[in-house]
């Protein structure tokens, strides 16, 4: 800025002292910044753009060239039913994660640092064990002769074992366990940044603790809440292993239909089309959420 003014003062000529050298230096800096980001750009290109492009292309071709046959196939009721199950399951898991995760994150955010770390450690623990192991662990717990049913029977609460697994319920339980950290972590991160003074201010202005919580704390935790909800929902949409093992075969997720397309039908075109559909739905949700949160802020402003 100062330089520009100096130049104007000097009669608009572009020949101040060292000007050329300084400009070269600025150029060089920009070049090295570009060089630093290049690996990341290449990586994104190779692992994201090219495979997705390939997927997209595969979904629109067969031996005879361009075709919509792979998408027409998806109109079969079995796929529509699977899509519904997928959404129901993702929705259920998201809601349960919210109900469990919000109080948990709140607790962790209010605890002294050391205790908070312990709580988070427990929440994170699932991350360090294999997905398969965790899923089988639920099988051991929930099956007919599993721990839960055995205890309930011994306590005389039930006579016949409950069907807790190999169905929607068991799948939702297993998935919730795996998804919970994805809800708790962003919530915790956001809650940690909410100053105690906001709640104090609300109380001081006359809000009871409950009103202050709903009217002030919850809206302030919204960024973490939105992040948690989206991550859990979107990841749940693409789940495969847990529903395959805990769903008893009758809980079919979209990803399982994709797998069936490749292994049973050996139909990469159909599988690609399903992948594209899932991708489009996911992007649609992200777009919708960003629109909603954007307008939510505006709504508050009104």
């Amino acid at each position: 800025m100062t330089l520009a003014l100096d130049q104007i003062a000097a009669g608009g000529t572009a020949s101040g002292a060292n000007e050329e050298a300084l400009r070269r230096q600025a150029h060089g800096e920009r070049r090295s910044m570009l060089a630093l980001t290049l690996p990341a750009l290449l990586l994104v290109g190779f692992v994201v753009l090219i495979p997705i492009g390939w997927l997209f292309w595969l979904s629109f071709v067969d031996k005879s060239g361009f075709t919509l046959i792979h998408y027409q196939r998806l109109l079969h009721p079995t796929y529509l039913l699977t899509l519904r199950t997928t959404f129901e399951l993702a929705f259920t898991v998201t809601v349960v994660c919210l109900l469990l995760g919000y109080p948990l994150a709140y607790l962790a955010s209010q605890l002294p640092r050391r205790w908070a770390s312990l709580v988070l450690l427990c929440v994170l623990f699932p991350f360090w064990t294999s997905l398969l192991v965790r899923t089988y662990a639920w099988l051991v717990l929930l099956q007919r002769r599993g721990l839960v049913n055995t205890w309930l029977q011994k306590l005389g609460i039930i006579e016949e074992p409950l069907r807790l697994v190999h169905n929607f319920t068991g799948t939702a339980i297993g998935m919730t366990h795996i998804m919970l950290p994805f809800m708790v972590l962003p919530l915790y991160a956001t809650m940690k940044t909410i100053s105690e003074d906001y709640m104090r201010a609300a109380a001081n202005l006359g809000a009871s603790p409950i009103r202050a919580f709903w009217q002030i704390y919850v809206p302030l935790s919204f960024p973490g809440l939105a992040a948690g909800l989206i991550v859990v929902f979107v990841l749940s949409l693409g789940f495969y292993v847990t529903p395959a093992l805990l769903g008893g075969g009758r809980v079919m997720m979209w990803a399982m239909q994709i797998e069936r397309s490749t292994t049973v039908y050996a139909d990469w075109g159909a599988a690609s089309a399903m992948g594209v559909v899932l991708l489009v739905i996911t992007l649609g949700i992200l777009w919708l959420v960003s629109r909603l949160t954007g307008s939510a802020k505006l709504g508050e402003a009104r």
Binding site: R200, A201, A202, A203, N204, L205, G206, A207, P209, F222
Partner: protein
């Protein structure tokens, strides 16, 4: 934000302010005593400042008044009503937080309306009162702005307006101006004081800035180590500090250890001819002579001897625009600051020059050497 004077609150003739009586408050965190048997009477409508260094307990005291900190024992009464057991949301007092604590998910108008909504004020009336409040703080056009679109000074005014829009009879302020730059802070000091005068509520103001306290307050309670050390009007506090701590915390001063024997004071073995001890310390107690820089004179060495003179030589001159501060080092290795305004053509005494510092007996403050804070030299 109608002022009670020209538009009394709907529904009655309640007074604009309440007196606060604080009795024997104790609050300790482990072995640390944040409030050590604090008692304080605040008059209705008074602007009182709690002044003290950080960790002195002033903020804790404010938090107890607001209800955010529960003391171990003691009593807080608003008028005749005991409130120490009352949860914060039932105390009906306004508060301005150090970081303002404006709700970022609400607009400016939303923040102002919030306390009114909580009090079930009809929507129409809320709109009117918010509008008047915005007018008062000169942010009429900013009602729909989000908080993060405001400058620091604007946020400060919104926070102030939010704290008083529901016409509380007590207003608490926790270092509300500390985040502002110097010019804005000084301007806001006057605005806050005018607002108080206009609304008339009892105001308890916390700061660590003694100048701010002197500027704004009816009375100042100097707090140190969980105790009220002195409670007085600004000028009395400045001119008649009762302890060494108060003397050194309020205003600039040079502090010299003296000995008082039989009503006569001596410094570094040499008698000060006529320092008037007030209040008179116990016989032969170690005491301090507190000298305000602006009340000292620099005497040429050749000047005739007079009462209350201390010899030394010039160590440093510091030019401060409106004044110059000369630091004089005594033979006993104590330092005295003298503030003078300079004539344009006046020549400064060179460093190393032998000089004498003179003062009037009535400007000399003698305080007992207390255990509070052995601050000497430059404030």
């Amino acid at each position: 934000m109608a002022t009670p004077a020209d538009a009394p609150a709907a529904g009655g003739n309640r007074s604009a302010s309440l007196p606060i009586t604080i009795e024997r408050l104790v609050k300790s965190y482990g072995s640390f005593k944040a409030l050590d048997d604090v008692s304080l009477s605040i008059r209705s409508g008074e602007f009182i400042t709690l002044l003290g260094p950080s960790g002195s307990g002033k903020t804790t005291l404010l938090m107890v008044l607001a209800g955010f900190v529960r003391p171990q024992s003691g009593s807080v009464r608003f008028a005749d009503r005991e409130v120490v057991l009352l949860p914060p949301h039932k105390r009906d007092i306004g508060m301005v937080f150090q970081n303002y604590a404006l709700f970022p998910h609400m607009t400016v108008a939303g923040n102002l309306a919030y306390p009114l909504k909580l009090r079930n004020v009809p929507a129409r009336e809320i709109a009117g009162r918010v509008e008047r409040a915005l007018d008062l703080i000169q942010l009429s056009a900013f009602g729909e702005r989000r908080i993060d679109q405001l400058s620091g000074g604007q946020r400060q005014r919104v926070a102030l307006a939010r704290a008083v829009i529901f016409e509380p009879r007590i207003l608490l302020m926790d270092e509300p101006l500390s985040a502002l730059d110097k010019n804005l802070r000084e301007q806001m000091q006057l605005e806050v004081r005018r607002l108080h005068d206009r609304l008339g509520m009892t105001t308890v103001y916390v700061t660590h800035d003694q100048r701010e306290a002197l500027t704004m307050s009816d009375r100042i309670a100097v707090i140190n180590r969980g105790r009220v050390v002195q409670l007085d009007r600004p000028r009395e506090l400045y001119e008649r500090p009762s302890t060494h701590f108060v003397a050194s915390f309020i205003g600039e001063s040079s502090t010299l250890p003296i000995e008082v024997r039989d009503g006569r004071a001596s410094f570094a073995g040499a008698p000060l001819l006529s320092a008037a001890p007030a209040p008179a310390p116990a016989s032969s107690a170690p005491s301090f002579l507190v000298l305000r820089p602006e009340k000292l004179r620099l005497l040429a060495d050749a000047a005739p001897a007079e009462a209350n003179v201390i010899a030394g030589h010039v160590r440093q001159n510091v030019f401060q625009g409106d004044s110059i501060v000369t630091y004089v080092r005594t033979a006993s290795d104590h330092e005295i600051a003298i503030r003078r305004s300079l004539r344009t053509d006046e020549v400064l005494p060179e460093v190393g020059t032998a000089v004498r510092v003179g003062f009037s007996a009535e400007d000399a403050i003698i305080v007992p050497a207390d255990a509070d804070a052995p601050q000497t030299g430059r404030p």
